[in-house]
Amino acid sequence: MNEYAAVLIFLFVGIGVVLFTFFLARLVRPSNPYKAKNQNYECAEPPIGSGWIQFNNRFYIFALIFVVFDVEAIFLFPWAVAFGQLGLYALIEMIIFIVILLFGLFYAWKKGVLKWV
């Protein structure tokens, strides 16, 4: 529990540094707002359209596959911590676990959803 006091202090110092920098910047900077300052930056060209565009649908399937393998990674953690006391049996169990999931990745690959068109 007490080790997390350090985490908390880090968090506060981190937030504090950012706030302090913004406060300091506000003290020294001149205030001169004009319209061009709020424009989207597009390599110094006048921007075309809004910055809020619809992204390609293909990103979503990658996000979904990422979530599945993230959940898999969660199960790797307690296994890795306990592995030193478990031996070969645990290794085989984890290999079965990963191989079953690799079927899914292989399926996605074969179906062509991983290909960027």
Binding site: A5, V67, P78
Partner: protein, 167 residues
């Protein structure tokens, strides 16, 4: 002193959770709502740490803050009407929402009050994650392997659905 500090941290975390949760449902821009949702989930991870559930906190940060929030933000960015500022992006059924939420609150409060909690008197294991790993590999091996089947089903389902709408 120790108790006071942890109480202070608890109130701070609860404050962050409640305020950002209110922002999630009231902000006009749905993208900003998603960002505040991430802050809410992150503060919940802090509550888990206070309950000595470090592994659960790590899971919360990795899965919810790391993965689910990415999914939500992607879902928002993929919406075709996002750029349309004319569309109201907040909830239009506030009254029904309040009704259902207070009903759910009453129901859960009632069941919490009526449940007899089976509290184990043993001290907590020294290393949560180690204990969990041992249990997962010995007692709960079958559920553990079934989890991979469930994840496989989720993965295949996602692929099938995404192919149908994408093409």
């Amino acid at each position: 002193m120790e108790v006071e500090v942890s109480q202070l941290v608890f109130y701070l975390l609860s404050f962050v959770i409640i305020i950002s949760a209110i922002y999630v449902v009231t902000l006009r821009n749905i993208f900003h709502s998603a960002l505040f949702l991430i802050l809410t989930l992150f503060a919940v991870a802090g509550i888990y740490i206070m309950l000595n559930a470090e592994f659960l906190a790590a899971v919360q940060v990795l899965i919810y803050v790391g993965a689910i929030s990415i999914l939500i933000i992607f879902a928002i960015m993929l919406t075709s009407q996002l750029a349309n500022k004319q569309i109201r992006q907040s909830n239009e059924q506030v009254m029904i929402g309040i009704f259902i939420c207070s009903g759910f609150l009453l129901a859960s409060l009632g069941s919490i009050a009526n449940t007899v909690w089976r509290i184990v008197e043993k001290p907590l294991p020294e290393n949560n994650t180690l204990t969990m790993g041992k249990l997962l590999m010995n007692e709960f091996v079958l559920p553990f392997e079934i989890v991979s089947i469930v994840l496989l089903a989720a993965l295949i389902g996602a692929v099938v659905l995404a192919r149908k709408e994408g093409a």
